[in-house]
């Protein structure tokens, strides 16, 4: 059940992560996880460059409080420029979200290598903190 009151707001974060950014021994995970004061839905991507604005905007339209992308370090992208493309798209997405009054902080990208599940949850938690100031997504329950 979506929680709409700001006081006990538990941001619902969708975390889309590149599978190459995971530590070699880490098992790819998908689905819902609970964090400290937030929840995260983890979505595995073959490369961060697979994120496209239509998908990201639909996720927000459907009520996700925040979206976090986990990409590989700049020089480590398996598609060479994939994560840079993703980064540029995210920058554009943030501008558009600001324009529609949703707040740029509902969307972000961070880079990392050899990530564990805990690292991914930490990234989602940081997005949750950034989103907390904005309050629940106004599209929730619409």
């Amino acid at each position: 059940m979506a929680n709409n009151s700001t006081a006990d707001f538990q941001p619902q974060i969708t975390l889309l992560y590149c599978r190459q950014s995971l530590a070699a021994e880490a098992k790819p995970v998908q689905g819902n996880r609970s964090g400290d004061g937030f929840s995260a839905r983890l979505v595995l991507l073959p490369c961060s460059s697979k994120v496209q604005l239509p998908h990201l905007m639909r996720l927000l339209e459907q009520g996700s409080d925040g979206l976090q992308i986990a990409a590989c370090p700049e020089k480590a992208c398996q598609h060479l420029v994939g994560s840079n493309r993703a980064e540029k798209r995210i920058a554009r997405g943030r501008e558009l979200l600001e324009q529609v009054g949703m707040g740029a902080e509902r969307l972000g990208l961070d880079r990392g290598a050899g990530l564990s599940l805990d690292d991914l949850m930490e990234m989602a938690g940081q997005r949750a903190e950034a989103v907390r100031a904005l309050g629940p997504n106004p599209m929730k329950g619409v």
């Binding site: 604005l53 239509p54 905007m57 558009l96 324009q99 529609v100 009054g101 599209m139």
Partner: protein
């Protein structure tokens, strides 16, 4: 291709206040190539408008569709049902496509989601630059294949003006080459610089958009 750019979302919000069911439509041809009105842009804009209107206190229901072409009547039938349900349509096709939609679905309010801006090429990924202004009396044969109408800020027919920067760029914009510099360079490379001094017949501007609405008739093609 015909290029277009999104209008500020704030302007679209202004149009949509008072409407409840909105259909956002794109065109998979020119405006898709210039990343303004293809499926990707339509499917980005539709949820953005839903969010913008929600935050504006005027929630709307948004549907979306991308037509193969918006400037040919046959393709418009694909949205007949969706258009009948909508009380407003936002089109991100060029002004030609938009007007055909406004004509076909005359009972529904039609709003532009883009400004149609130029006839351009994609020079590099993410960069489009003008090549033609549909002037109606093409002079490319005199100017070594470089258009002085669309690509000179003053549409000079005998340039360059005195404003060319020392680095060869136009005085109006340091990222835009002075087209007359390029014309002179190309003429020089061909060993035909003298050609530019020849007197040319006056250009027929009455066949340009300044000459009024265009009506092109070909009797041999009419039924």
């Amino acid at each position: 291709m015909i290029t277009a750019e999104w209008k500020p979302i704030e302007e679209m919000v202004g149009y949509l206040r008072g409407h409840k069911k909105v259909l956002v439509i794109g065109c998979a041809t020119c405006v898709a190539e210039c990343a303004a009105g293809g499926e990707r842009e339509v499917e980005t804009l539709a949820p953005l408008l839903a969010m913008a209107m929600q935050n504006d206190g005027n929630p709307i229901e948004v549907k979306s569709a991308t037509l193969e072409r918006q400037c040919e009547p046959e393709f418009l039938e694909a949205i007949a049902e969706a258009a009948a349900e909508a009380d407003a349509i936002v089109s991100v096709a060029c002004g030609i496509g938009m007007q055909l939609v406004a004509e076909r679905y005359a009972d529904t309010s039609l709003y532009p989601g883009v400004n149609t801006t130029s006839l351009s090429i994609r020079e590099e990924p993410g960069l489009w630059t003008s090549r033609c202004a549909a002037c109606g009396d093409c002079v490319l044969g005199f100017t070594f294949g470089l258009c002085p109408v669309a690509r000179c800020a003053k549409s000079l027919q005998n340039g360059p003006c005195g404003g060319t920067r020392t680095n060869g760029m136009c005085e109006i914009n340091e990222d835009t080459p002075c087209i007359w510099r390029l014309i002179v360079e190309r003429a020089t490379a061909r060993g035909r610089l003298e050609d530019l001094t020849k007197v040319r017949p006056p250009k027929n501007w009455s066949n340009s958009p300044a000459g009024g609405p265009k009506r092109m008739l070909r009797e041999d093609l009419r039924s």
